[in-house]
Symmetry: C2
Subunit: 164 residues, 2 copies
Amino acid sequence: MNIRPAVEQDRDAIWNIFHEVVAAGDTYAFDPQTLREEALAYWFRADTHTYIAEQEKKIVGTYILRANQGGAGSHVANAAFMVAPNAQGQGIGRAMGEHCLSEARRLGFRAMQFNLVISANESAIRLWQQLGFKIVGTLPGAFRHPQKGYVDVYVMFRSLEDTR
Amino acid sequence: MNIRPAVEQDRDAIWNIFHEVVAAGDTYAFDPQTLREEALAYWFRADTHTYIAEQEKKIVGTYILRANQGGAGSHVANAAFMVAPNAQGQGIGRAMGEHCLSEARRLGFRAMQFNLVISANESAIRLWQQLGFKIVGTLPGAFRHPQKGYVDVYVMFRSLEDTR
């Protein structure tokens, strides 16, 4: 697997992944009807570092890395990850997570925060915990899950200052 | 005191308050160098309800109310409040907070979340607790305070479903 910064020619593949992941509606708070141009504008926003993961020249995952807040909060990174549904369970999320932590350190961030981890998304929570994140907040019923109704949302956080 | 939706003619007064509050750098994660047009674009964003508080025809405070997330997270409101520095300590923040909770209920939100309450901002924390918010998360060192260095940030949350 290779992980690299995304380029213009990756936009179709990224949109396909984004659309599939968001249509499922169980992991992200994007409107499932989000249009291609809106989605790509968000994923390639000027303040955002965008990456893809590829296997045998096929793009199987994508992630973004940016400051979670401006000004006096800009030392904390935020990131979002998407793996193509037909490529899940192969360690692509973990590889992107490790790459992302490394990139965040390289860019000078002091910590990383996820604002919206769905409590029902157990495999993601386990992965982030294995990568050193802790649940630092619980938002009661803050996500309307398509099968489970209102479920809690976790805020997860880890310092990047410690050595690993 | 009167609180009402903001109109075009309020932009100068809102910018003056925004600029003064953000320049102090101790309550918001906006770049203190934020330009007028950026600030007003954010404060009047298409998905945002913008209000002002006025006393004797002078605008002394402003707040915004919007969904904190899109899609399956859009039932949770977010809000941000600013009081003119020379009008603080007169209950304007509290009056806007109560107005905001009422507006959020009217608009159908089920809960309200603040993503970035600076732990050093004790008067704000006390006010939100009095208005029914709880600290549901603590982000270690997530804000660079101009006098105190890195300080914790709280995530605060309250349901709007209960009767008060």
